[in-house]
């Protein structure tokens, strides 16, 4: 495994962990407050984060394969 790959892997893990923490925080916290607006925002953010994360990982994958 080259350095580039390890760097990308590290970044991907950090993003994954960060987004997991954010999602858990939003879902738990806003479930307690139970307000429509917060629930909507939680869904919005979760899906946006998941979409961005998945896209970023796939982009890395194709870039690495190209190299």
């Amino acid at each position: 495994m080259n350095n580039n790959f390890l760097k990308l892997l590290k970044q991907a893990i950090i993003f994954f962990l960060a987004s997991t923490v954010v999602i858990i925080f939003y879902v738990k916290f806003f479930d307690h407050i139970a307000m429509l607006a917060y629930r909507l925002v939680a869904i919005f953010l979760s899906l946006v984060l998941i979409s961005n994360l998945a896209a970023k990982l796939l982009t890395y994958y194709f870039r690495l394969k190209k190299e």
Partner: protein, 448 residues
């Protein structure tokens, strides 16, 4: 510096105050002001849906580009694609920055290109500066600068469209790239632009324009605004519905101009008019995210308002001219553009007209009911969008300082909403009075 720090501090205190209210104030009964509550929910939901679509689709643009490059690399390993390129630089009273623009172009990693500078009726020393630079360059080319032909054309009558048409007529390249004379072009920009034209279906590409002068608060506001709008261009590109190729960084195959003619001489936003005509002809436009161009943003409020007035007037004029594109069922037209993006652009203008009042409305409602849920939701959404755009940007190595702006991004955007609102009102007033908006004469500082 101190002024900027104090302003940021104030914005943070304001945001912090609202967050504090959510935790420590007890909301009153939700039955208060039911109509107002319904209006807020309706307006906020439409905004949320719009941003949701853009934020979810946009990141897949990077995947599509990486995948197509990987597939091409596999198919045609080692194939070189270096068609001749003509770079057009229209300049009107750009003595402060035009030489820097030319120097940055000459430092480009792409070698097979020519530069054509068109002096459009400048009343300052733009022409002298260009000619003196060309003379020096031809005499003793500085080391590290590539050897390219740099020519100078003089257009006596003002008008950016006229200047660009003169450049197109003189251009010999297969691909024509237009950049503004106040820009700094990154070394890889031309090569990256050209790489998109490997796909024979691509007829035009829009570059990634960033604001270079972020020393004052207005520069920062414009920087964030450009970041927002260019991030959303990614989803427009995926959906094939880009309808604005900004004059600061646009690339076209020369045959585009043969097929649909040159820039409009009457439209004040000749770039939007051309882009809509390209879409109208059913040609493919893509977003070249890695073709980065740094531009000088407006330095004062009046300059910014005049710029936005020109954009709004031009957009209204273009939409009216090409109104039959709306909800078009013709096969060559992109249905997502005609049925979704263009109507959404009109909706966006209406929304913009209401947004300024909506935020005040939400604030008063929150204050009266102690229910800050809709307010805080808005702040969370806008801040998160900024954070995601900054963090997930492939072209930014350091985002630490920039991401600190995310929590107060909603307030910074409010400044731009205010400017856009003023421009919108002025544009409508001008349209009703049949006033003509002129090509703006900038007071350039030359920031690069």
């Amino acid at each position: 510096m101190l002024k900027k720090f104090l302003l940021y501090f104030f914005l943070y205190i304001l945001t912090g105050g609202i967050v504090f209210s959510v935790f420590f104030l007890t909301p009153t009964e939700k039955t208060d002001f039911p109509v107002i509550r319904l209006i807020i929910i309706f307006f906020a939901t439409t905004l949320l849906i719009k941003y949701f679509i853009y934020m979810v689709i946009s990141p897949w643009h990077d995947v599509a580009i990486a995948f197509s490059r990987y597939r091409r690399a596999k198919k045609s390993a080692g194939d070189r694609y270096e068609p001749p390129v003509s770079v057009l630089v229209p300049a009107r009273n750009e003595e402060a920055g035009v030489v820097t623009t030319l120097k940055s172009l000459l430092e480009s990693s792409y070698k097979n290109f020519e530069i054509i500078v068109i002096d459009s009726a400048s009343t300052d020393n733009t022409g002298e500066k260009i000619l003196s630079f060309i003379g020096q360059y031809n005499k003793s080319r500085p080391p590290g600068l590539s050897k390219v032909a740099v020519s100078y054309l003089k257009e006596e009558r003002p008008g950016k469209g006229r200047a660009l048409n003169k450049g197109i007529a003189a251009a010999s390249g297969e691909i024509i790239i237009s950049v503004d004379a106040d820009c700094f072009i990154a070394p890889e920009t031309l090569a990256n632009f050209v790489s998109y034209f490997r796909n024979p279906r691509v007829m035009a590409a829009v570059g990634n324009v960033k604001i270079g002068n972020t020393q004052n608060i207005l520069g920062v506001v414009q920087y964030l605004e450009f970041l927002f709008s260019f991030y959303f261009k990614k989803s427009d590109s995926i959906l094939g519905s880009i309808y604005i190729i900004g004059g600061a960084a646009g690339a076209f195959r020369k045959e585009v101009f043969k097929k649909i003619g040159g820039y409009s001489l009457s439209n004040i936003t000749e770039d939007i008019d051309l882009s809509v005509r390209i879409q109208y002809a059913g040609m493919k436009i893509v977003y070249a995210e890695d073709a980065v161009v740094y531009t000088e943003g407006a330095a004062d409020f009046s300059g910014l308002i005049r710029q936005r007035l020109r954009w709004k007037s031009g957009r209204i004029e273009t939409f009216l001219k090409h109104r039959h594109l709306f909800f078009s069922t013709q096969e060559k037209h992109n249905k997502i553009l005609t049925w979704f993006i263009l109507p959404l652009a009109i909706f966006g203008e209406v929304q913009l007209a209401l947004e300024l009042f909506f935020i005040i409305f939400v604030y008063v409602y929150s204050y009266l009911t102690n229910d800050y849920s809709s307010f805080i939701s808005g702040i969370i959404v806008v801040s998160s969008m900024f954070a995601v755009q900054i963090i997930f940007d492939f072209h930014r190595k350091k985002w630490g300082r920039l991401v600190l702006l995310a929590p107060i991004g909603w307030l910074l955007l409010y400044i731009s909403t205010f400017v856009e609102f003023q421009a919108l009102i002025m544009a409508f007033r001008g349209y009703l009075r049949k006033e003509k908006t002129e090509w703006q004469i900038w007071k350039r500082k030359g920031v690069f």
